[in-house]
Symmetry: C2
């Protein structure tokens, strides 16, 4: 197993590489995992989301236990929506409540597959080889929007707000997901604790089937869906998602700003 | 009005600029529309989709006439899904039937808004200023997938296959959409002919409201939704979408390859 992370360096540049002890062994990129020869002290670096996906393909109803609880049959093909690049934040960054949304926001702790090579129409064996590694995802959802309009379920909108895709803290390659469990805590209280082996479509099956629909690019992430224990995050609450061997992804929901309209994220412009 | 296009040059590079007569006046990029000083003959250039969106936000039910026909109320907020970057093709490129899908494929002729500046939480006036220009979209859809699973409408999947977002041929800035009509022909026979003024949310309203949900980046496209006359494309049929002042976007649906599994689009590997 190897642990890969992405950082901002002191001069504002972005570096990616393999973490060993207190050092980052820099690599060209996730798509070209060739060492540059540089070795950097982690103390001088600010962690970022471990990759910068062009898109996140997020599955619904991919665990037998959740399907049973929802009383739905397990799907015969991955059921998915997409979250955009701008929804991604890293470990420790705040989830921001959308300014015009006062409703329920929920966490969904998920295994994330990080794609290593361009994937088109791959079989399962090719798909396995195209997986760079695994990370953690909090697939944050504005739950009250999902069925706000009775004629059009708003899966994309409810899950695509800026900061609604927490990724990190690291990507672990060579990780055996079959024996692992995912734990989610809300303000320190355990809320999810499920075995990844309960997945309907395995990671390689997901990559293979989705690659027959659309091209996956290096750095793209598939969020494998969640299982039992999804729940509401109150403003100020902290969600931590852990898989032993990958790490812990922690993010706090911050309340919406109360001042005049602004450009979100552009804090220098706050009135 | 100015007409903007994107091309591949003889050396494989990508050039973007303003078209005047038989020449391209090259500009740095859509995000930085500053002339480079270069003037290129169009004869030496191969047209591409006029921009390379990171994402396409595609609206559903945004015309009063279609809402009335569907007997649905008009929405109070844009209802949308997302199509990924890899779904984009330009004018003249083939729409490819997915290898594992033998069902109905439909055209949807739409106005496309091309974003010129990063948009976050914009009001309508700011949104108007952030629109670079307008293009044409064929929002191709694998219609039989939409409701294939009764528990999860597959809007993203049905519209996200590679080649299912036809864009082009040009972006026209300073275009007045209010007086324009969109015409779609299938193998030369008129199928859609509707006024853009029938939109529920105007382009600036769409940009404003969507920017309150998620960040739009330069080059991103909003497909404004379609109106009456959507229909099926048989393999080998040609769809042309026209708005006077923007141009005509023509694409043909090619049948799925019949040989052994391959990597789609990688024709050098076809067995």
């Amino acid at each position: 197993m190897q642990t890969w992370m992405r950082f901002m360096s002191g001069d504002g540049g972005i570096v990616f590489g393999r973490v060993e002890g207190a050092y980052l062994h820099e690599y060209e990129s996730l798509a070209q995992p060739v060492p540059t020869g540089a070795v950097l002290s982690l103390r001088a670096l600010t962690p970022l989301a471990p990759c910068a996906p062009g898109k996140i393909v997020a599955l619904w109803n991919n665990y037998h236990a959740l399907a049973a609880k929802l009383d739905k049959p397990v799907p015969t093909h991955p059921l998915f929506l997409m979250k955009p690049a701008a929804s991604v934040i890293g470990a420790g960054e705040p989830i921001r409540r959308p300014r015009h949304y006062a409703g329920k926001i929920v966490y969904e702790g998920e295994l994330g597959i990080v794609i290593g090579q361009r994937c088109r129409d791959l079989d399962v064996q090719q798909a396995e080889a195209a997986i760079f590694g695994y990370t953690l995802v909090n697939d944050v959802t504005a739950a009250d929007l999902l069925n706000e309009n009775p004629h059009f379920p708003q899966w994309c909108r409810a899950k695509s707000f800026d900061t609604f895709c927490c990724l990190g803290p690291a990507i672990v390659s060579g990780f055996d997901w079959r024996a692992a469990r995912l734990l989610t805590t809300l303000d320190g209280v355990e809320r999810q604790n499920y075995p990844l082996a309960d997945m309907v479509f395995s990671p390689a099956e997901q990559v293979s089937l989705i690659s027959q629909d659309l091209t996956l690019e290096p750095g793209d992430v598939i969020a494998c869906g969640t299982s039992l224990g999804v729940g509401s995050i109150k403003d100020g609450a902290t969600v931590s998602i852990t898989i032993d061997g990958i790490g812990t992804l922690t993010n706090t929901l911050s309340a919406a700003p109360r001042d005049a309209p602004q450009r979100l994220g552009d804090t220098a412009n706050v009135g």
